[in-house]
Symmetry: C2
């Protein structure tokens, strides 16, 4: 059990709490079959996620005004549907597919681990998702967040400091009283740079066969756990 | 049961969900006795609350930059402690007393009613309190909010339209898909003006012997209930 304890723990969401890749592939496969629309849905999902960082970087660099992740996702989807030559999707279908990010499924340990952590700490997502996306996801999946720290609250995407430090300001605590928890070492490195505590747990299946990193902690994070249930145990709850 | 249903229900908090007056009087009476500080705590609490609207109005009118309710509460407290001639309170005591707003107790039906409503609707406070205040209150009292719509998210106090409409924007729904619930007719009148649905339930003990209004609905609000449990029943949950 770690001796120093945070007041609040904020979680990276896509990949760390929910399994975006398997969730979207499963949903699109069923949806495509039901609609009679054939496509390489697995490749589409991987390409969609690959468009994620470049799309946010255009906002982060000021090339584009503040835009929610829902809107960025939709623009990337439209482009990929054209590139993949997928035919037969209506506007309602595209809206539905885009909202697939609101219906992502948690990893097996996520809800149980977060429920334990909630008994002692303030818990919330600190995600590049917007509030509507993260809140609908929580309602669908039964994720018991106390507060939703969507990127639209800060009008900044991670790893901009306004996100990590914005949580501390909003909670009226010091950055060192907030713990960032993630399956991504680079997210934790930024959080540590801005004075937050850190917790790592790996999600080696996040990218399926394309996983290239984050199999293990690459710094001495304050907590290193096998998953969110183990993280709760290591924090003594 | 109302036929048209909202996506989200947001609640006024002070007076509508929690009993600020009895909570603060009880806490200060015990605290004063333990510290050996004597004062007319009931009169102090009533005067503290009376300073609430004027203090926010200075921000709303632009006479003062954005200031959280925690900070406004503290400034009013300092002034009243001096006016009442209360002696013997340390800085730590004043911090503790000011955080009494984070420890307010819910009315008897609040948690049960909100828990029922949460099973079908997104629920959150839409309050002049800041996120830290409302979140600590929820953790202390077991209030199961999905999201905390603190006034600091909008940098506006009610009844500014940025608050009511800000919820709809953040949830990516139309104003008419959001229901404002409150024990205060004037809050609902503003919400209705900006296109929100409305729900009223009275809290006739909110101001104790000083209650002057809000014993009953003064418009045909979409839902009129006796309390939050009854509101859940009227919405069919």
């Amino acid at each position: 059990m770690s001796s120093k304890q945070p007041v609040a723990i904020v979680f990276d969401t896509f990949g760390s709490v929910v399994d975006w890749r398997s969730s979207l592939i499963a949903e699109l496969t069923v949806f495509g079959a039901a609609r009679g629309v054939s496509a390489d849905w697995t490749a589409l999902v991987d390409a969609w996620r690959a468009a994620y960082h470049p799309s946010m970087d255009r906002v982060r660099k000021g090339e584009q005004p503040w835009t929610t992740l829902d809107t960025l996702h939709r623009a990337s989807l439209d482009q990929l549907v054209a590139e993949f030559g997928i035919k037969g999707l209506s506007e309602a279908d595209l809206v539905h597919i885009n909202l697939g990010w609101h219906r992502l499924k948690p990893w097996a340990d996520s809800v149980a681990g977060l429920t334990r952590l909630k008994s002692r700490f303030i818990i919330g997502p600190l995600s590049n998702g917007n509030v509507a996306l993260l809140l609908n996801m929580a309602k669908n999946a039964g994720i018991p967040w106390d507060m939703i720290f969507g990127s639209d609250l800060f009008q900044h995407f991670k790893p901009d400091p306004e996100t990590y430090l914005g949580v501390a300001t909003m909670l009226n605590v010091a950055p060192g009283q907030v713990m960032m928890a993630a399956a991504h070492n680079n997210d934790l490195a930024r959080a540590r740079k801005y004075g937050l505590m850190t917790a790592f747990f790996p999600r080696p299946q996040e990218y399926g066969p394309h996983q290239k990193r984050d199999y293990a902690a690459d710094q001495d994070w304050d907590v290193v756990a096998t998953d969110i249930e183990d993280m709760a145990s290591k924090l003594g709850v």
